[in-house]
Symmetry: C2
Subunit: 264 residues, 2 copies
């Protein structure tokens, strides 16, 4: 089997990582259903305490699944994972500006880098669908829309910035069900941060996300917003950290962990 | 009203802290029911990352409620709290040895100290009692028994050591109920780490705890063990950190937060 012929939903985590390692660059929502996906933020060790404290102070956007030792590109989240190659895409930041968007970061790697793996809402989309809640961007095969909000994250040292959210349009009658289901995943952002009224959290135009693709909205849908693991990336930009690496928004690490193991 | 005449259960968090600030040194289980209690670990800023990472890697014993900026003795957990005086008792460690057990640490305070406030199982004892599960050490007015176990905590930098547990003897028929109730408090150690068979986690004699008072066991009771916030204190000892301050086991900070606000 070649991964290019298989449907993402039929591919296991190891095969998916192999494909991404080989250069395939795609949004990972819907890939390897049932396996936990993770965001990445990698910084020089001198900023590691600020990032970890930022995560502790902002647990909804930043549920930490694993932290590496300095220089290490492996993680407890899966056998044989190489953090430098196994995401579909990366963003490399210098002084808060994106300087490169490669499919691997082997050439950018340094011995003083500490990586944080952070829970991702893609993990609970499966449970939403199985629970009868439609996930519109998965049906359409697009990336989830993400927005910077007016909700300031609690700062930690140099790390400060807006809370970023992912949005899913959900039929009004199923919004409560979506809350109920996502409450079972506290390490994957858990319950929504905000339901309805995008303007109340500083989103002027819900059709124009800051990251990802435009939302698909059906009549009778309510916009529901979950805290997003891109939040530390926004803080790296706002703080103009000298150097950082992150995943490309929507392009996650697929770990060997199963969603069920994180259930509350 | 003077606190010495009131029953602990009738005293609010602010009055309790005032009494402890005045020198009263007691175990705080049963005090100010409904208000969140917290463990303390305070270290020089150069060890703060190790402690925070240790907590991230050991979330059951070390659910972090707040982290102070270096030198600060205040916390977001309550108005006017002074971390140097508002615990009933402290332990001061040098090179892993207890060098002082004062009722305040004003004279030991330094500008480079970072404090970690960690959730405490006393917080859910109230819910246990309201749910019909007897909490024997509360009825007897003794301190909860705590044990070092053979379960190694995941290490982080210099921080490494055994997982410490608190034990409550619970009637066999109510053990499931105790699990159910404590599952609602993931930030207060959550569900038990171990149920029955103390020898399986390296506890040779359940009548002789490493911290606190001997357990009260009634016929038909099962020993139930919860991860304990004394765990980082055990790691400070094992790692022989040059300097640390902690609460005296069982003598917690009573915060202004209510138990309900942490409910899952």
């Amino acid at each position: 089997m070649t991964t290019s012929q298989a449907r993402p939903a039929e591919i296991g985590p190891r095969e998916a990582r192999q494909a991404f390692r080989g250069g395939l660059s795609v949004a990972t929502s819907g890939w390897a259903p049932g396996f936990t996906q993770a965001n990445l933020i990698t910084v020089p060790v001198e900023y590691a305490y600020d990032v970890l404290l930022f995560a502790q102070r902002n647990p909804k956007p930043c549920p930490v699944l694993d932290v590496t030792d300095a220089g290490s590109a492996t993680t407890a989240l899966g056998d044989g994972i190489d953090l430098r190659t196994d995401f579909p895409g990366y963003r490399v930041y210098r002084d808060g500006e994106v300087v490169d968007e490669p499919t691997d970061v082997v050439d950018h790697w340094r011995d003083d880098l500490v990586s944080f793996l952070i829970g991702c809402s893609f993990t609970f989309e499966d449970a939403l669908e199985r629970g009868g809640v439609p996930v519109r961007h998965r049906v359409a095969g697009t990336n989830v829309p993400m927005f910077r909000t007016s909700i300031e994250a609690r700062s930690a040292g140099r790390m400060a910035g807006p809370t970023v959210v992912s949005m899913r349009s959900i039929p009004a009658a199923q919004v409560a069900r979506a809350v109920e289901i996502t409450a079972r995943f506290p390490n994957m952002h858990g319950t929504p941060l905000h339901i309805g009224d995008p303007a109340a959290i500083g989103i002027a135009d819900v059709t124009r996300p800051d990251y990802g693709d435009a939302p698909i909205v059906e009549p009778g849908d309510v916009p529901v917003f979950w805290a997003c693991g891109v939040t530390p990336q926004a803080a790296v930009v706002a703080a103009r950290l000298p150097f950082a690496i992150a995943h490309a928004p929507g392009q996650m690490l697929i770990t060997d962990g199963t969603d069920d193991q994180w259930n509350a």
